[in-house]
C-alpha cells in the first residue's frame, strides 16, 4: 500500500517537474527577448536625451535624498560630502542617524557645523522617537539635514526621513553607496517623461564596486572581483538587474526596486503609509503596496527602471555575510508575498497580480525548494532503477545548458549596452564563472534559500501576528488619508 503511494508521488512529481522545466525554459527565453527589446529602445531613447537642462530648469522636480546610517562613523563624513556635491539643482540630503552606538553623529556635527533646531516634528508615519533634527548655519551645507533618533531599523529610519522631506521626489539610498554625479538627473527623467501613466517609482542598478577604481564618485576602471563569490555576484548582477528587471519593466510588471537606490513619489509613499518596519524585505514590500494601492484606486501607473550604471556598492565577498544576506532576502520575499496574498492570480491587480506575483512565488520564493526536490527526485529515480531517470537527468543537463545560455546572454547584453568590463582577462574570468556557477555556487544559494524558508517558519525576524496588525495599521492610515482628501 505504501509502495503504491510512493510511486504515485513519483508520478505526480515527475509530471510537475516536466511542466516546471518547460515553463522555466519558456519564461527565460521570453525574459531574454523582452530585455533585449527594452534595452534597444532605451539606448535609442538615450541618444535623444539632453541632461544639461534638467539640472537648472525650474520645471524639474525637487529630490529629497534619504540615507539612513547605523554605525557608519568611519566613512559618514566622506559619504555625506559626496552626496552634497551631486550635480543637481533642487535637492536636499537627509541623513538619519538610527541610534548609532559609535561617533557617527558627533563626526557629522563637527564636520558640518551642525546645530540642533526647533523642528516641530509631528510624525505622520509613526516611528521610534526622534531625539533631534540638526542643520548647519554654514551656507555651503545648507542642503544637509541630520535626524538623530532611537534605533529602529532601516525602514523606521527611512520613515522619519519621509516625515520631514520637503521636496516632491524621494531618493532612498544606502549611505555607503557611491553615486555618480549625474545620477539624480538620470533617475528623475522617467518621472518627468510621464504622460498618461503615473510613474510611481524608478529603480536603478547597483553595480559592483569591489576591486574597481573609483574617482570623484564614479567608477573609472572596472575590474572583476578577485573572489569566486564576487565574480558570481557580477554575473548575477548582469542576469537579475540588467536582464531581468529590464524585461519586467517592459511589461510593467516590476515588483521590486533595489533598496539601496530607489526613487519614489513622496505624496504616494505618504498615502500608503511609508515603509513597513516589521518586515525584513521592506524595499519590495513598499513597491508592492504602492502598486496595490494604484490598482485599487484604478489609476494607470508604472514602475520604471533606469539601467545606466549610476550607483555602486561593495558586495559581500565573505560567505557568512553573503549567506545571511540571501537568507534575509528569502525571508523578505516570503513575507511580502504572504502579506499581499490577495494579489495572486487576481485580475483586479493587472500584470502584477496575474504574472509578476505567481512568477515570484514559484520561481523566486519556491525555487530553492523545487530545485532541491528536483535533484532528490532524479537521484531517487536513479536509485530505484527507473528507466525514466534518464529523462530527468537529461532535463537536469538541459537546465545547466539553460543557465549557461542565460548567463552568457546577460554578459553579451552588458557588452552591447555598456561594455564596461573590457579586459580580456576579465571576460575569461566571467566565462569560467558561468561554466562553474551551477555546480559551485548555485547549490549554496539554494541551500541558503531553504535556510531562509526554515528561519521564516521558525519565526525569525518578526513574523506572526505582528505583521498582520502592522499592515492593518498602514491600511487604516491609507483609508484615513483617502477620507480626508475627498
Amino acid at each position: 500500500m505504501y509502495s503504491f503511494l510512493f510511486f504515485l508521488l513519483l508520478e505526480i512529481f515527475g509530471l510537475m517537474f516536466l511542466i516546471l522545466s518547460f515553463s522555466v525554459i519558456l519564461i527565460y527565453l521570453i525574459l531574454m527577448v523582452l530585455s533585449a527589446l527594452e534595452m534597444r529602445d532605451f539606448l535609442r531613447k538615450n541618444s535623444f536625451a539632453d541632461y544639461g537642462d534638467i539640472i537648472t530648469s525650474p520645471i524639474t522636480p525637487g529630490v529629497s535624498i534619504l540615507a539612513p546610517a547605523y554605525n557608519e562613523g568611519q566613512n559618514i563624513v566622506q559619504n555625506a560630502q559626496s552626496l552634497l556635491s551631486l550635480h543637481y539643482g533642487k535637492f536636499e540630503v537627509i541623513l538619519i542617524n538610527d541610534g548609532s552606538k559609535d561617533d557617527t553623529l558627533e563626526k557629522l556635527i563637527s564636520s558640518f557645523e551642525l546645530e540642533k533646531t526647533n523642528y516641530a516634528y509631528h510624525p505622520e508615519i509613526e516611528t521610534k522617537a526622534v531625539r533631534g533634527i540638526y542643520r548647519s548655519k554654514n551656507m555651503s551645507f545648507r542642503r544637509l539635514t541630520v535626524i538623530d533618533k532611537e534605533n529602529g531599523g532601516k525602514a523606521d529610519a527611512l520613515n522619519t526621513g519621509i516625515n520631514i522631506a520637503s521636496l516632491e521626489i524621494l531618493a532612498c539610498i544606502d549611505v555607503d553607496c557611491i553615486l555618480s554625479s549625474d545620477s539624480i538627473s538620470r533617475m528623475v527623467r522617467p518621472f518627468m517623461e510621464e504622460t498618461n501613466r503615473k510613474v510611481i517609482a524608478v529603480g536603478g542598478v547597483v553595480g559592483i564596486a569591489n576591486n574597481c577604481d573609483v574617482k570623484d564618485g564614479t567608477v573609472t576602471t572596472y575590474n572583476v572581483p578577485e573572489t569566486v563569490l564576487g565574480k558570481f555576484q557580477v554575473i548575477e548582477y548582469f542576469r537579475a538587474f540588467l536582464m531581468g528587471r529590464m524585461a519586467w519593466s517592459r511589461v510593467n510588471g516590476l515588483m521590486l526596486i533595489s533598496g539601496a537606490f530607489g526613487f519614489f513619489r513622496k505624496d504616494l509613499v505618504r498615502a500608503v503609509g511609508g515603509y513597513f518596519p516589521k518586515t525584513v524585505g521592506e524595499d519590495m514590500e513598499l513597491v508592492v503596496r504602492m502598486r496595490r494601492y494604484m490598482y485599487e484606486q484604478k489609476i494607470p501607473h508604472k514602475v520604471s527602471f533606469v539601467p545606466d550604471p549610476l550607483c555602486w556598492t561593495e558586495v559581500p565577498e565573505d560567505q557568512k555575510v553573503l549567506s545571511r544576506q540571501r537568507n534575509r532576502w528569502m525571508r523578505g520575499t516570503i513575507e511580502t508575498l504572504q502579506l499581499h496574498q490577495a494579489l495572486g492570480l487576481n485580475p483586479k491587480y493587472g500584470i502584477v497580480g496575474m504574472i509578476s506575483y505567481p512568477f515570484w512565488s514559484v520561481f523566486e520564493k519556491f525555487a530553492p525548494i523545487i530545485e532541491a526536490s528536483g535533484i532528490i527526485y532524479t537521484i531517487t529515480l536513479l536509485a530505484i532503477g527507473d528507466f525514466s531517470a534518464i529523462y530527468f537527468f537529461a532535463l537536469l543537463v538541459m537546465m545547466y545548458l539553460l543557465s549557461l545560455l542565460v548567463s552568457s546572454f546577460s554578459v553579451l547584453y552588458e557588452q552591447i549596452a555598456f561594455n564596461h568590463y573590457k579586459e580580456k582577462k576579465d571576460l575569461r574570468k566571467l566565462i569560467w564563472m558561468i561554466l562553474t556557477e551551477p555546480f559551485v555556487i548555485h547549490p549554496k544559494v539554494v541551500y541558503w534559500g531553504i535556510l531562509g524558508h526554515i528561519d521564516f517558519i521558525k519565526g525569525k525576524g518578526g513574523w506572526g501576528a505582528m505583521i498582520r496588525t502592522g499592515f492593518k495599521k498602514a491600511e487604516d492610515k491609507r483609508n484615513l488619508a483617502e477620507q480626508s482628501t475627498t
Partner: protein, 525 residues
C-alpha cells in the same frame, strides 16, 4: 492564492490515469469469468481443483489413467488435485469427447470450498498484496522494464508505466528539441547582430577619419558665399560622390556637422548650415520623417531643428500630435524654434498629457526664441488639454509676464483645482496684490492642496481678510502640517496676530510650531 492552488493540485490528481482502476477488484464474480480468470492465472497458491465423477461411464481406461489418477469414493470417483488452472480447458475437452459427466470442485488448502469462498479468498489475497495478478499479453520489453524496475507488478501499474513512459519520453524530447532550437536561434541572431555592429562601427570610424580634413579645410578656407557657390564637381572633390550616396556616410556627416554646429559660434554656424544644404543632407533629414521606425523620424526632427530647415515645417506640423511621445515632443520643439511667428497652436491642440520633460524643453526654446520674437502664448489658455493650460500659467510665472495677469483673472472662474494652484503660485511670484480676494476664496477651498497653495500665496500678497481666515482655519484644522503652513503664513503677514495666537495658554502644538517658525535655520521648511 492557496485556494486556487488546491484546485490546481486537485486537477493534477485527476490527470493521473489508471488511478481509479487500481481500486477495482480484479476477481470476476460470475463463475465463468472466475474460471477464465483462474485459467489466466494458471496457479494460485492455496487453490486447487479436482474433478468428481459418478460411477457411470468410467471405463477401465480412465481408472488407470495417470492424467486424472482417479480414486474411488463412496459416490463415484474423484481425480487427483490439479494446481494449474490453465489445464482446465484441455482436461474438460477430454471429458467432453468421452462424454463423461463431471463436476469440478474447487479446493482451498485441500478442503473443498464453494466458488464464493474461493472468490473471497482470492480477492483477499490480491487485496492484501500477497498474490500478484499475472497479465498475459505483455510486450517483451515492458516485461523487461518492469522486471528490471523490480516494481510491484500491478496490472494497473504496468499500463500506467507504458503510458507514462511514452508520454514522458515524448514530452522530454520535445522540451529538449524546443530548447535547442530556441537557443540556437537566439545565439545565432546575437552573433550576427554583434558581427554587424562591429562591421558598422569600423566603417563608421573610417568615415569619421576621412571627413575631418575636408571639413576643416572647407570651414577655414571658404566663406559662406563661397560654399553656397560651389558646384557639384567641387563638392565631390571634398566629399566623394560614391561615398555620399552611402547611408552610413551621410549619417556620419550629419552627426558631425550638427555636433560642430552645437560647439561653434559665429560665422562657422552659417558655413555649416550652408554646407549641410549643399551636400543635400537636408533632403536626407526630411526623408527620414517618413521612415517606419520612430527613432529615425525623431532623428530627422532633431536634425531639422538643429539645422534650421525651415522649409520642412509644413511636414513637421503633421507630427505634432503623434502617439509616439518622442516624435510629438520633437515636432513641437521644432515648430516653436523655427516658425516665423512662434507657433503655439500646435502645442495648444495636443491631446496627450504634457509631460514635465516636454515642458522643460519647450521652456528653454521659448526663452531662447523670446529674445528676438514675440511670444503670444495666450492661445494656450484656450486649450482643451488641462496640462497645456497649466503649462501656460507656469509660463506666465517663469517668464514674468505681468501683462497676462488680467487674462488669468478672467480665467479664475473656470479653472480646475490644479490650475488654481498654479495661478496662486503665479500671483505670489509676480506680486499681484490686487488678487487677494481670489486667495481668500481659495483658502476656504475643500481641497487641502488648494488651501495650502493659497496659504503660501497669502504669505506674500495676503490682506487683512486673509489674516482672519487663517486665524479661523487654525482653530478648525487638525492636521499638523497644515497648521504649520497656516501659522507660517500668518507670521509673515502679521506678526502681532501671530504672537497673539501662539503665546499664552495655546496648545503645545502651536507652541512647537512657533518655535519652529522662529528658528532661523528652518526658514525654508
Amino acid at each position: 492564492m492557496s485556494k486556487r492552488l488546491h484546485w490546481i493540485i486537485f486537477g493534477l490528481f485527476s490527470l493521473i490515469p489508471g488511478l481509479s482502476q487500481a481500486q477495482e477488484d480484479p476477481v470476476p464474480r460470475d463463475s465463468t469469468g472466475f474460471y477464465e480468470f483462474l485459467k489466466s492465472q494458471r496457479e494460485v497458491p492455496g487453490l486447487s481443483y479436482r474433478y468428481i465423477f459418478s460411477e457411470k461411464g468410467i471405463t477401465l481406461a480412465y481408472r488407470s489413467d495417470s492424467l486424472f489418477s482417479l480414486s474411488k469414493t463412496d459416490s463415484g470417483y474423484v481425480s487427483k488435485p490439479f494446481a494449474d488452472f490453465s489445464w482446465i480447458d484441455e482436461l474438460q475437452q477430454q471429458l467432453v469427447v468421452d462424454s463423461l459427466m463431471y463436476q469440478i470442485q474447487l479446493e482451498l488448502y485441500s478442503q473443498p470450498k464453494s466458488i464464493e469462498v474461493a472468490q473471497e479468498y482470492l480477492s483477499d489475497l490480491i487485496g492484501k498484496g500477497d498474490y500478484l495478478v499475472k497479465v498475459q499479453e505483455d510486450l517483451p520489453d515492458v516485461d523487461l522494464v518492469s522486471l528490471a524496475a523490480k516494481m510491484p507488478y500491478l496490472p494497473v501499474q504496468k499500463f500506467k508505466l507504458k503510458f507514462m513512459s511514452d508520454y514522458r519520453l515524448l514530452a522530454v524530447t520535445l522540451i529538449i528539441v524546443f530548447f535547442f532550437i530556441a537557443s540556437a536561434a537566439m545565439i545565432i541572431s546575437m552573433l550576427v547582430m554583434k558581427a554587424n555592429k562591429i562591421k558598422r562601427e569600423a566603417l563608421q570610424d573610417e568615415y569619421e577619419g576621412i571627413i575631418i580634413e575636408p571639413l576643416t579645410t572647407l570651414l577655414f578656407e571658404k566663406g559662406v558665399k563661397d560654399i553656397m557657390a560651389m558646384d557639384e564637381a567641387e563638392i565631390h572633390s571634398f566629399f566623394p560622390k560614391n561615398l555620399l550616396v552611402k547611408e552610413l556616410y551621410q549619417h556620419v556627416l550629419i552627426d558631425r556637422i550638427i555636433g560642430l554646429n552645437k560647439k561653434m559660434k559665429g560665422e562657422f554656424k552659417e558655413k555649416l548650415k550652408a554646407l549641410y544644404k549643399k551636400l543635400e543632407l537636408d533632403k536626407v533629414s526630411i526623408k527620414s520623417l517618413h521612415h517606419r521606425k520612430w527613432d529615425r523620424v525623431t532623428m530627422g526632427l532633431v536634425q531639422i531643428n538643429e539645422m534650421d530647415l525651415i522649409e520642412a515645417l509644413p511636414e513637421v506640423k503633421k507630427f505634432t500630435n503623434s502617439s509616439n511621445f518622442h516624435i510629438r515632443s520633437r515636432a513641437v520643439s521644432a515648430l516653436l524654434n523655427l516658425s516665423e511667428h512662434v507657433d503655439f497652436k500646435a502645442l495648444r491642440d495636443q491631446t496627450y498629457p504634457l509631460s514635465l520633460w516636454q515642458q522643460m524643453n519647450y521652456l528653454r526654446i521659448i526663452r531662447f526664441v523670446g529674445l528676438h520674437k514675440d511670444l503670444n502664448f495666450e492661445t494656450l489658455l484656450d486649450s482643451k488639454n488641462q496640462s497645456i493650460r497649466v503649462f501656460a500659467i507656469k509660463l506666465v510665472r517663469i517668464l514674468g509676464r505681468v501683462d497676462m495677469i488680467d487674462r488669468l483673472i478672467s480665467y479664475e472662474e473656470t479653472a480646475s483645482d490644479e490650475e488654481k494652484i498654479e495661478i496662486l503660485e503665479t500671483y505670489a511670484t509676480v506680486g499681484a496684490h490686487m488678487e487677494s480676494r481670489f486667495i481668500n476664496v481659495c483658502l476656504r477651498s475643500s481641497n487641502p492642496s488648494v488651501a495650502a497653495a493659497a496659504a503660501k500665496a497669502a504669505a506674500v500678497i495676503g490682506d487683512a481678510d486673509s489674516e482672519e481666515i487663517l486665524l479661523d482655519l487654525l482653530q478648525s484644522e487638525t492636521d499638523f502640517r497644515r497648521k504649520r503652513s497656516f501659522l507660517r503664513s500668518l507670521y509673515k503677514l502679521n506678526k502681532e496676530k501671530f504672537e497673539m495666537v501662539t503665546s499664552g495658554d495655546s496648545s503645545s502644538d502651536l507652541l512647537e510650531i512657533r518655535n519652529h517658525i522662529l528658528d532661523p535655520m528652518l526658514q525654508d521648511v
